[in-house]
Symmetry: C2
Subunit: 438 residues, 2 copies
């Protein structure tokens, strides 16, 4: 009896101990998750504080529109349709002004058009009597939904009106099948359009007047940043490859930081989708700050494409950076200067181009560096003619020759980029730099 | 009088002529647009007939769900909430099964969760009396909308639950501010959840059982296609660069077609976003065809990344293809064979890897070609040792040396790809090829 009692006592203690460990484990896991999320939140916020501002703006827009429910005169005239104002705010509010404007415009226009067509279809179908009506309506819905869905595969429609087509299908189906009488539908249409307008206007107002994020400005900066990333690599490349201490400030970085610094260009490789989205949004934006309504956004895409071309070469170049083959010192000395010159002059040209874009001035100062890098590339020919030590092994110099050749390619790429930026400066009428600089 | 009459007559004739030209111009413009759209439609349909099927499926789903309005027993029990079934179909139906399942799941779960929270918030706020209620509700909405909007910046949430968070914000705001009594809300919640379930099930049913497009299969094929595109380039490169007529069937292509053929790899450069989206959708999909539920989709992304690495090298290589510098014929003869060997063996290895992925068999046959390309790369060393004509100009051979060096890089890339495909074959338990092949 005593033993049995003790054993059951042990069991209970064991059970509670187990429970205790399990709960502690869960708690620890939860704590870990919370810490992880906190760190991530902090990082996301620090990387781009506009994310926090955007979230607060969303909260603000939604609380504002929610107040409509409590503001009797408005609620009484809209009734249940007030819901559509809230719905509109949630789906229309986007990170950039352009995206918000585009979605608001798409939503409004599509609702208007599809509503009108829906009423027409409903009227037409009602002529067919109670039996025929569902069939005709079903046929109309099928036809329009199929055609509209297919139109979303057209690249131009996909880029600018994708959301509008979705709302078109939605509204047309809702209106045509709703089965309301026409006078009721017109009242509903009026209410719905007003609430959608109210919601869209709230979004547009907040996104334009509270810390706006302009897609156009974003694209503009993105292009400049991408150039700078490539320039950073080219600036550091000479020193890294030839293992010389360049006498600039950057050499103070510790090796790990420098490695990261040299890898910044990698994000440029996959920048196409982001740039295209920004350009599409930018086209919805009115003039803002230094950008006019018809700013040549397409030229930015062209420039972005050329920057990526350059980034692909840089990526190929990067695999030679840690080459372990020892160059014959005589050969190294001959080409080192020219290579460092090509790389650093291209870097300077890209930096100048980036700063010309940032300040929206004519990129005249970059031309000097472009010319210098071209001269270096040409002087390479004479350097190579004399550089090859007759008794040396081609194997030893193969990677150096490749690096040289890729650098020449990069010089050409930089020239193309410069040309494209000049074209951009012409199209967007960048201002001329102050005379004293020249 | 006569003259005046004639002049006004002339004016009228002129006006009508103008109108006629204007209308004809408009008509021509319209005809041009129609022809353009027709050609585009045909092209889009021919490129991928599944686009047409998808559109028809969308029409079908929507007409089916619209019939609910005309089916009295259902309509009577759901009332106005029937609208949510239509709404759900329009927004949930996507091109691939995975995307449809993901959106349906997100919509359902988010509605459930946000609905429950919304009722709670509403109850809590009603304790504060008529004056305090709007303030407390406004505060809740602000807090949750801000937090939820910010969570959309977390990469993991963005990838899988972006739509869910949107619907969460939407439903929470709608329910908490709606001002209904609790019993009414519970009835509404029941109706809305049922209709959303009905809509989602319709979408899922049609997308799975009518010509399904599986995101997983799409990703699987995409990876194989990308390898083949690179293989095509490498196969053609030797002949193009050394201007030899290779004795394979492809040389029958006319030069323009061959040019296009060699440029097919370009789409690989920007394939990252598409692959990541497909992998995210694929994770929602149940087992289908040859794919199990927990198929190693991440390994596809890794392989895809390595293929892009190879594509960047190919892009760098491509700029040397039309080099106009004449190689010294002695040097050319020495390296030509090795270069063509490296390039064509890598091409064969990639083709074999692609076909191993397509047939889901162990990629054993590729290993031979990998080994051959490695042997060629090594034999290059001896070739280069003897190849350099002492009196020749380094300038003349710089592009050939670069090409050789880039080809060696591509051989390494191919090895990495092969390793990654072997890992994939191990993880996904690809079947062993028939013994007779060995």
């Amino acid at each position: 009896m005593e033993i049995e009692h003790e054993s059951s006592h042990h069991q209970i203690v064991g059970f509670f101990a187990c429970m205790w460990w399990w709960i502690m484990g869960l708690f620890k896991k939860f704590k870990g998750k919370v810490i992880g999320v906190t760190i991530m939140t902090k990082k996301l916020g620090q990387d781009d504080p506009r994310r926090i501002i955007h979230s607060v703006k969303m909260g603000l827009a939604l609380s504002l529109i929610s107040l409509v429910y409590y503001f009797r005169p408005i609620y009484d005239s809209f009734g249940v349709s007030t819901m559509w104002a809230v719905l509109t705010v949630v789906v229309v509010f986007e990170f950039t002004v352009g995206a918000t404007l585009g979605k608001g415009f798409n939503r409004g226009m599509a609702t208007l058009l599809a509503g009108a067509l829906g009423v027409g279809a409903h009227q037409l179908a009602s002529l067919a009597g109670e039996q025929g009506e569902p069939i005709i309506i079903g046929f109309f819905v099928f036809l329009l939904a199929t055609a509209a869905s297919f139109s979303r595969f057209f690249p131009e429609i996909k880029a600018r009106y994708d959301y509008g087509v979705l709302i078109f299908i939605l509204t047309f189906s809702l209106v045509s099948v709703s089965g309301y009488r026409v006078d009721k539908i017109i009242q509903l249409a009026h209410q719905r359009l007003s609430t959608i307008l109210l919601g869209s206007l709230t979004c547009v107002f907040i996104s334009i007047f509270v810390y706006p994020v302009w897609a156009g400005e974003e694209l503009h900066n993105q292009i400049a940043i991408n150039m700078e990333k490539i320039a950073d690599f080219l600036e550091g490349f000479g020193g890294e490859y030839f293992e010389t201490e360049l006498s600039n400030g950057e050499s103070a970085l510790d090796p790990k930081d420098e490695k990261l610094f040299l890898e910044r260009y990698k994000s440029v490789l996959n920048s196409k989708t982001a740039e295209e989205n920004l350009a599409n949004f930018a086209r919805w934006e009115p003039c803002h700050g230094r950008f006019k309504f018809r700013h040549p956004w397409k030229q930015y895409l062209k420039t972005g494409g050329l920057i990526r071309q350059c980034a692909y070469r840089v990526e190929a170049l990067n695999s030679y950076i840690n080459s372990e083959i020892q160059l014959p010192s005589e050969f190294k000395k001959k080409i080192q200067e020219t290579c460092i010159k090509m790389s650093s002059e291209s870097a300077k040209a890209l930096s100048e181009l980036a700063s010309a874009i940032r300040t929206m001035t004519q990129p005249c100062t970059a031309d000097v560096h472009i010319a210098n890098s071209r001269i270096a590339a040409n002087s390479l020919k004479t350097a190579l003619k004399t550089a090859l030590p007759m008794d040396s092994d081609l194997l030893q110099i193969i990677s150096a020759v490749t690096v040289t050749s890729l650098l020449v390619e990069i010089v050409s790429c930089t020239e193309n980029i410069a040309e494209s930026v000049h074209e951009l400066a012409r199209l967007a009428k960048f201002k001329h730099p102050q005379e004293q600089i020249v």
